[in-house]
């Protein structure tokens, strides 16, 4: 079936209401050829999961393999910048297939076990307390600017072993890297600047950690260089990957989740009145539901390794593919009342963290931060009042990211 849907995914309805847009695609043309950008758009839960479990058919080495020009188009004079950018992203471990992917990823596993992540919980709680104390003095906050952004940023800077006062500088550079999922014709310059400024900032740190390892993930990557799995260039670029993936996603989880609670006061009340009488605990279920209902990452890209038939369509070798978590997480074939925000939903097999061998490495950390953030808000405030009627999202097809989320707070009585 052919759909009449507009193929522009970088503006308009697709950005403002991706659930409407990708939901329509899912019901009208679930394996959709986007003629405007020449790629396959997958939106059904079953198809997305099937793709993630068939990593031999759908290559993650997108930047290495794909020699076509980027979409949407860029300035022709920026093609040289794009070549550098491609080379940089191609060195991320997530941009590899087996067996190299496994070797590169394995270096990091020990750092991300649940036990080792758990040691960060007290620090996460204490940062949350400080941020909310500060907000209470003002009586209002922009959840995006004052809460959702500084928390994960602080945590990831600690994990990198970076000094506290560098975090705003780190965020400024990281923001330039977010241009990767956007449509601006001039996006290559900020992206290129961000990459090279981060490389300049981190290279001397890597040099230090090689000589004197510390208790941070740059030292873990540096170990990977010593064992011959990472080159120096890869240590630096993968440190940037962990920096970026380690906070941008969690920012969106906290911001989108807070919005969902404000838009569903009944669910907010449920969380506030949590009696602690369900297993797994309500706060864990609620965080999973936030990850399903309005997930931080909207889509993931792949390149077909061979011809594959899907839903009666022929995906040809080397075709570009993007699958939409945004579509899969609201699929009525998988979830009952998929458009209902229900924090008691369990089991909840959402694909907010992906699935299969590329499943999010930092999922445990993201969950920990989300759980503590939502719990702290519900414990501290009677109500959070939205001070905006319209919501402006970043024009990205990769991240579901609000530009701001201003609120006023009413304190809970002691």
């Amino acid at each position: 079936m052919v759909t009449a849907i507009n193929d522009d995914m970088f503006s308009g309805q697709a950005i403002e209401d991706p659930y409407g847009y990708y939901g329509q695609l899912r019901s009208e043309d679930p394996v959709h050829w986007n003629e405007k950008y020449k790629l396959w758009v997958l939106t059904r839960y079953e198809d997305v999961v099937w793709c993630t479990r068939h990593n031999e058919l759908f290559s993650s080495a997108v930047f290495k393999t794909d020699e076509r020009t980027p979409y949407p188009e860029i300035e022709e004079s920026d093609m040289g910048l794009y070549d550098d950018i491609r080379k940089f992203f191609a060195s991320w471990f997530i941009q590899h297939d087996r067996p190299v992917h496994m070797d590169m990823r394995r270096v990091l596993h020990g750092y991300f076990t649940p036990k080792s992540m758990e040691q960060w919980r007290p620090m996460v709680k204490s940062v949350i307390k400080d941020l909310l104390d500060e907000a209470d003095e003002q009586g209002e906050m922009d959840i995006m600017r004052d809460f959702a952004t500084p928390l994960p940023l602080f945590v990831i800077a600690q994990m990198m072993g970076m000094p506290y006062e560098d975090r705003k500088f780190i965020r400024m550079l990281a923001e330039k890297l977010l241009f990767i999922g956007r449509g601006d014709i001039g996006r290559m310059q900020p992206l290129h600047d961000g990459i090279y400024e981060l490389i300049d900032y981190l290279s001397p740190v890597v040099e230090k950690r090689i000589k004197n390892p510390e208790d941070d993930f740059i030292s873990v990557l540096a170990e990977g260089e010593k064992s011959g799995i990472y080159t120096r260039e890869q240590v630096v670029s993968n440190a940037i990957l962990l920096l970026l993936a380690g906070h941008e996603t969690t920012i969106n989880l906290i911001c989108n989740g807070s919005l969902a609670f404000m838009q569903h006061p009944d669910q907010w009340d449920l969380l506030k009145n949590d009696k602690g009488d369900v297993v797994p605990p309500l706060i864990n279920r609620a965080t999973e539901e936030c990850l399903r209902y309005d997930p931080p990452v909207k889509s993931i890209q792949r390149i077909a390794s061979e011809d594959v038939e899907m839903g009666g369509k022929l995906i040809r070798k080397n075709d570009r593919i993007r699958w939409f978590i945004t579509g899969a997480n609201r699929d009525p074939e998988q979830f009952e009342d998929p458009d209902t925000f229900d924090i008691n939903r369990w089991p909840n097999a959402h694909v907010g963290f992906g699935s299969g061998i590329h499943h999010c490495l930092g999922a445990t950390l993201a969950r920990l931060e989300g759980q503590e953030a939502f719990k702290a808000l519900a414990d501290r405030y009677d109500t959070l009042n939205l001070e905006a009627r319209e919501f402006d999202y970043q024009p990205s097809i990769t991240f579901r990211s609000l530009k701001a989320l201003p609120v006023t707070m009413a304190m809970a009585a002691d």
Partner: protein
């Protein structure tokens, strides 16, 4: 020919992504440390156990045929 299996999880690498209990919930569960653990190696079909082992993002799961000793995964 569905003989018994020996299934083990390397807890030095398991990051608790919970793919295994999701795909073979009678064989795997999360323990108190939120890492995968084997509750009954023959709880699910051999096919489901192997699917769980293959889907593990960190390849922490080893599956051996208990009778022949043949390693089935990885």
């Amino acid at each position: 020919m569905a003989g018994k299996l020996q299934v083990s999880i390397d807890h030095n690498v398991c990051v608790g992504n919970a793919m295994c209990p999701h795909l073979a919930g009678k064989t795997f569960a999360l323990n108190d440390d939120r890492q995968g653990s084997v509750i009954d190696p023959d709880g699910d079909t051999r096919e489901n156990v192997l699917e769980a082992a293959e889907a593990c993002p960190v390849s922490a799961i080893t599956v051996v045929d208990a009778e022949s000793g043949e390693q089935l995964f990885p």
